[in-house]
Symmetry: C2
């Protein structure tokens, strides 16, 4: 039998090591995804030391029953530390009327909660921006490390839809693509 590790000894047991004979350069990888559009969300949380907010295009629904979604957070984000500890989050699903909130969650060096008329707190404590298309309060149920990012899986607990999309309609849907904002509608719809 091996000796038990001395208290405080560091081991690499839990750090996955991946070695590949080829690996895409960061530049080539960015070029790929520059051409891949995404819906826009702002995620907020408060782990007890003040509210944080972050704009993300990685939010995706993974199952309706149970109601689960995922998103990823870069360790470089100012919200990363709080989101790694928060038990619940609010995911705001935005439309073109919400561009200012989307830009706020992506801005550097600004207080994303300075405009006190723009947000409030749910009775459960989470910060929520006002008048956005929709939001959903979620409990974080799992986390997976992926390089310098963390993928978070969350269970939807409570939602509010301010502006619903009608069957066959596009609403004022907002898309981020190649560093620009786009709005969907009859003008963008195509048939196969």
């Amino acid at each position: 039998m091996s000796q038990p590790s001395p208290a405080g000894a560091e081991t690499n047991d839990e750090i996955p090591e991946h070695r590949f004979s080829s690996s895409l350069s960061p530049e080539d990888f960015k070029a790929l995804f520059r051409g891949h559009p995404g819906g826009v969300a702002v995620i907020t949380a408060d782990a007890g030391d003040g509210p944080v907010a972050l704009t993300a295009t990685s939010v995706a629904s993974v199952s309706a029953e149970p109601p689960l979604l995922i998103f990823s957070i870069s360790a470089l984000s100012s919200a990363s530390d709080v989101l790694s500890r928060a038990g619940t989050v609010v995911v705001h699903l935005l439309d073109a009327n919400d561009i200012e909130v989307a830009e706020l969650g992506a801005a550097h060096g600004v207080d994303r909660f300075a405009q006190t008329h723009r947000w409030s707190r749910l009775v459960t404590g989470e910060p929520v921006y006002s008048d956005v298309r929709a939001w959903v309060r979620c409990a974080v149920i799992d986390r997976m490390d992926a390089g310098t990012s963390t993928v978070i899986a969350a269970h939807a607990l409570q939602s509010h839809i301010e502006r619903d999309v009608q069957p066959g309609g596009a609403g004022d849907a907002l898309v981020y693509h190649n560093r620009s904002w786009h709005q969907l509608g009859a003008h963008s719809r195509i048939e196969p």
Copy 2:
């Protein structure tokens, strides 16, 4: 010390249990995401028993260095079993010229590889559709269960861009939203 478990004994240790006092209904959850647009990808793989393909709007870049992406697969998908075993996958990032491939990967009861002029195999064995905007071959590095779906993290190994987007341009970007296809361009672009 506790007794070791008898061989073959089943425990629930690895099954995460989540109980919530409130949980969103499947209908309310679907209504939320109906209004959330997504870029369109087709994921292919072959774990040794024939090629599979699946259309997904959950593909997201999570880090450029290392080059990592994620996507989720429903256990209900016909490709789910193969994707749970495949060591590598090809993620095709589509534009509006690729709608037929996108519909193929979402069609029920059809052979998604019947049209032999539409696809080939990389020298490493993975099936790849021809003439799509871009594809990236990836090694699966981690999997996370989320309800009846699996979230897959993959490391990009090799890519091909057939149609690049120019700085400031929209290319022929394809978006799926509220069960319709949309094409981005100068007509959809908005300023804050």
